[in-house]
């Protein structure tokens, strides 16, 4: 055994480690660190004339809800619109937060793709979005009746996500 076996040995170690890491499921997103914590205080103006704005107080009246971060300019938001509609039909209350949006665009989006929301706040500076640890649109949070974030869904809601969200809402006390 001479020193010239050392590079091969080190390389074998690296391959083992890298292979192990590659075979591990990879967390694609950065989860919010706010899960299990109380919502930060906020009060947002209405995003358009049709619905009231949103504040944290609206989300701590005892009834679990979904908090949906979206925008009219976001394409996946169109894709998830039918499933939000489906959730609303199952009796879920959904509060929207429109990110960097314009009232007329919001109204047009809702007219075209349906309106599942009870309230929509306008988050023009993404402050609330960042405050609850959301990194993109769309994103959906389950809030229990006491204003605590219990679950985070990243990306658009698809058919298979609907039962998961309903189950999370049930666990949150619906």
């Amino acid at each position: 055994m001479r020193w010239w076996w050392i590079p091969l040995g080190l390389f074998a170690l690296f391959v083992g480690l890298a292979g192990y890491q590659l075979s591990q499921p990879k967390e694609e997103f950065v989860r919010s660190t706010m899960i299990g914590k109380t919502l930060p205080a906020f009060a947002l103006e209405p995003a358009f004339d049709g619905l009231p704005g949103a504040s944290d107080a609206d989300l701590r009246d005892g009834k679990p809800r979904l908090l949906n971060v979206w925008a009219s300019w976001c394409l996946p938001c169109i894709a998830e619109a039918p499933y939000l509609e489906q959730l609303r039909a199952s009796g879920v209350e959904i509060v929207g937060i429109a990110i960097r949006d314009r009232p007329e665009d919001v109204a047009e989006f809702l007219a075209r793709h349906g309106n599942p929301y009870t309230r929509i706040g306008a988050d023009d500076l993404s402050e609330v979005m960042l405050g609850i640890g959301s990194q993109g649109v769309p994103e959906t949070f389950v809030i229990d009746g006491k204003g605590t974030i219990t679950y985070q869904h990243m990306g658009d809601i698809r058919a298979s996500d609907v039962p998961v969200l309903l189950e999370e809402l049930r666990k949150a006390g619906a």
């Binding site: 010239w4 091969l8 390389f11 391959v15 480690l17 890298a18 192990y20 890491q21 590659l22 500076l125």
Partner: protein, 648 residues
């Protein structure tokens, strides 16, 4: 139709690589056989076919052919032409094609011009080059086809990441690629020499221009990348120890070591096994970097095309090539005799010391880069940054710089330090003077302090090899060394100065308000919207005046791109001979004041001027070596002619 032509050329090139591999390895024992005749032409045609395929891709991007998936996902009809073209390599598939193209063209070039190596080593080298190439062809053709069509042509492209829409970055990746792939040639040379057991000074001389060329490209690439990150990302720093940056630094460190050990082998027939190992390691670092960047295995601010499946593919390639070469090295290193002896105090001794230090620094960077991978296996997420890299790297860097100042003054084989006492004392005095001056005048950390002092010492020392010589008779390659070493000193001075004397100011300023940073006073004259070809922005009008002088107008922007939607900060720089003012405009607060971020960075530009000097030195050395070789070849032909005449 055009895209299909490109694809066909690629398949044909891959087939030729297979032929080159088989013919090359089979004819090592019979280098004059018929099979051996195929190897060089195969390599040359392969290079031409790849160049054609890459040309096709450029064409598709130039005309924005939206029926090609790669164009539709990475380009946009509204982009300026230069960014349409750079879109061709600003993505995973295109950059892989660029990689294989450079590699095949290098193989063709070896086949065309290389005449120094014994024929069988030459055949083994081209065989090894084809072996490496085949893996990349497989990767490209089976999992990342750049010419894939969409079932339905898209109506408009998705655009190029706005951060990449920058002239510096358009040319930064190809530059690095020339470097990475140039090292694949050194790798093939090393494998070829191991297979035929012919590790000779001739071999080192044949390999050296390739290593030098690759190293120059790497140097330029890293320098440009650092400057790009500095002015484009808007965070005011020039090196972040990000895995992607480290991925380019590690092959550079290995190539630097290889360059110097190849010189020892060429001049003195020593360090045979060590040179071979560095040849393998240098390219391993290129591939490792590619793996880290593309597998998504490490989190990085600029990793792209993250895909575990591609990661597995590259890991398999790594295992075959690097594992194979290292196994071959372990088996053959013993039979490659160590060559000539030398004493510690000699040119070789100094070069060996610096080789070991360079490898140690490489180890430090490699460990820091891979450490998060290790901890993640135990479910702990960490990121390793400057607090580790700077001091731990410095432990090896400063001794290396000291020996770097002395080494070029020593004779080959055996020397006494006493012979160079006077120049050493001079260098020591300069270093010490700067150290004391800085310590007395400024309050700074230990690393920037040492950096400034060593930079001054090295700057003087790098010119000492010219002392007492007729400057017109000094070989070009020696000038190259002098310039490159001086460049290191210049870059080091820039880095240390930026760290030691950097001034930062984060201010909220009303329109018309004034703030200051270092010797600058900056007035925010106004903020107005502006529009570009595919973005809108707000632009601040800053009046910056240095030390009460005439104000200059600066316009930092906060840009919004809409395809894809992204916001970037276009910082502005005011460059003076003694440093740069760096300004970034931020958000407007509720009270109407604008956030303004300002830095005054004395001597910061020396970092990149130093890098360019290093590259210039490398180029001079390359030119010098090539000229020397040509002269030697002419002499040899003339001797042969004369011998023939004498016989007749």
């Amino acid at each position: 139709m055009i895209a299909e032509l490109g694809l066909a050329a690629l398949w044909l090139a891959a087939a030729l690589a297979a032929l080159q591999l088989i013919a090359g390895f089979l004819s090592i024992r019979h280098p004059t056989g018929e099979l051996a005749q195929l190897v060089r032409p195969a390599a040359i045609v392969q290079g031409v076919l790849c160049a054609f395929a890459f040309g096709v891709l450029l064409w598709l991007f130039a005309v924005t052919d939206l029926s090609v998936k790669l164009v539709a996902t990475n380009s946009h009809s509204m982009k300026p032409m230069i960014f349409k073209l750079s879109g061709a390599w600003g993505n995973h598939e295109g950059s892989m094609l660029l990689w294989i193209t450079v590699m095949a063209m290098a193989g063709g070039l070896i086949a065309l011009v290389e005449r120094r190596l014994p024929e069988k080593t030459m055949l083994a080298t081209l065989g090894a080059q084809a072996f490496v190439g085949l893996g990349f062809y497989a990767f490209l053709l089976l999992s990342s086809n750049p010419f894939e069509r969409l079932p339905m042509p898209a109506t408009e492209g998705l655009g190029l990441n706005p951060l990449l829409q920058d002239i510096g970055l358009a040319f930064h990746p190809p530059t690095l690629y020339f470097g990475y792939v140039g090292l694949s040639v050194a790798f093939s040379f090393a494998v070829g020499a191991m297979l035929t057991r012919q590790v000779t000074p001739e071999f080192a001389r044949a390999m050296r221009p390739w290593v030098l060329g690759a190293w120059v490209f790497l140097t330029v690439g890293i320098t440009a990348g650092s400057y790009w990150a500095y002015y484009e990302l808007g965070w005011g720093g020039w090196w972040f120890w990000d895995p992607v940056e480290n991925a380019s630094l590690m092959p550079w460190l290995a190539a630097t070591a290889l360059l110097h050990s190849a010189s020892v082998l060429a001049a003195r027939d020593a360090l045979r096994a060590w040179t071979i190992m560095l040849g393998v390691i240098a390219f391993s670092m290129s591939m490792l970097g590619t793996f880290l960047v593309r597998s998504g295995i490490l989190t990085s601010v600029h990793a792209f095309a993250v895909d575990p499946q591609r990661g597995s593919f590259i890991l398999i390639l790594l295992t075959i090539y690097i594992g194979g070469a290292l196994a071959l090295f372990a088996l053959r290193a013993g039979s490659v005799a160590e060559g000539e002896r030398f004493t510690t105090a000699s040119r070789e001794g100094a070069l060996v010391f610096n080789n070991v230090m360079l490898c140690a620094i490489l180890g430090v960077v490699l460990m820091g880069t891979l450490y998060p991978l290790v901890t993640e296996a135990f479910d702990v997420r960490v990121s390793v940054g400057p607090p580790y890299f700077n001091p731990v790297g410095a432990i090896f860097t400063f001794p290396m710089l000291a020996v770097m100042a002395v080494g070029p003054l020593l004779h080959w084989r055996r020397d006494k330090l006493a012979r160079v006492r006077t120049p050493l004392i001079l260098v020591g005095l300069v270093t010490l003077t700067v150290l004391v001056l800085v310590l007395a005048l400024y309050d700074t950390g230990i690393l920037p302090l040492l950096g400034l002092a060593f930079a001054a010492g090295l700057a003087i020392a790098s010119f000492l090899p010219l002392r007492g010589r007729n400057l017109r008779l000094v070989p070009v390659a020696t000038w190259g060394m002098v310039v490159a070493h001086f460049g290191i000193a210049v870059a080091l001075f820039g880095m240390a100065s930026e760290t030691a004397f950097n001034k930062e100011r984060l201010a909220a300023v009303q329109a018309g308000g004034t703030t200051d940073v270092g010797p600058w006073s900056v007035t925010l004259a106004g903020v107005e919207p502006v529009a570009g070809p595919n973005w809108t922005a707000i632009e601040a009008r800053l009046l910056a005046s240095y030390d009460g002088g005439e104000p200059i107008v600066l316009g930092p922007q906060a840009r919004s791109f809409w395809a894809p939607i992204q916001e970037t900060n276009e910082s502005v720089l005011a460059t003076r001979w003694n440093g740069q003012l760096y300004a970034v405009i931020g958000n407007q607060g509720e009270d109407g004041r604008w956030q303004l971020r300002l830095w005054w960075k004395p001597w910061v530009t020396l970092i990149w001027y130093g890098g360019l000097l290093v590259a210039l030195g490398g180029t001079l050395a390359l030119v010098g070596r090539v000229l020397e070789d040509l002269k030697r070849r002419r002499v040899r032909t003339r001797m042969a002619e004369r011998r023939r005449e004498a016989r007749a």
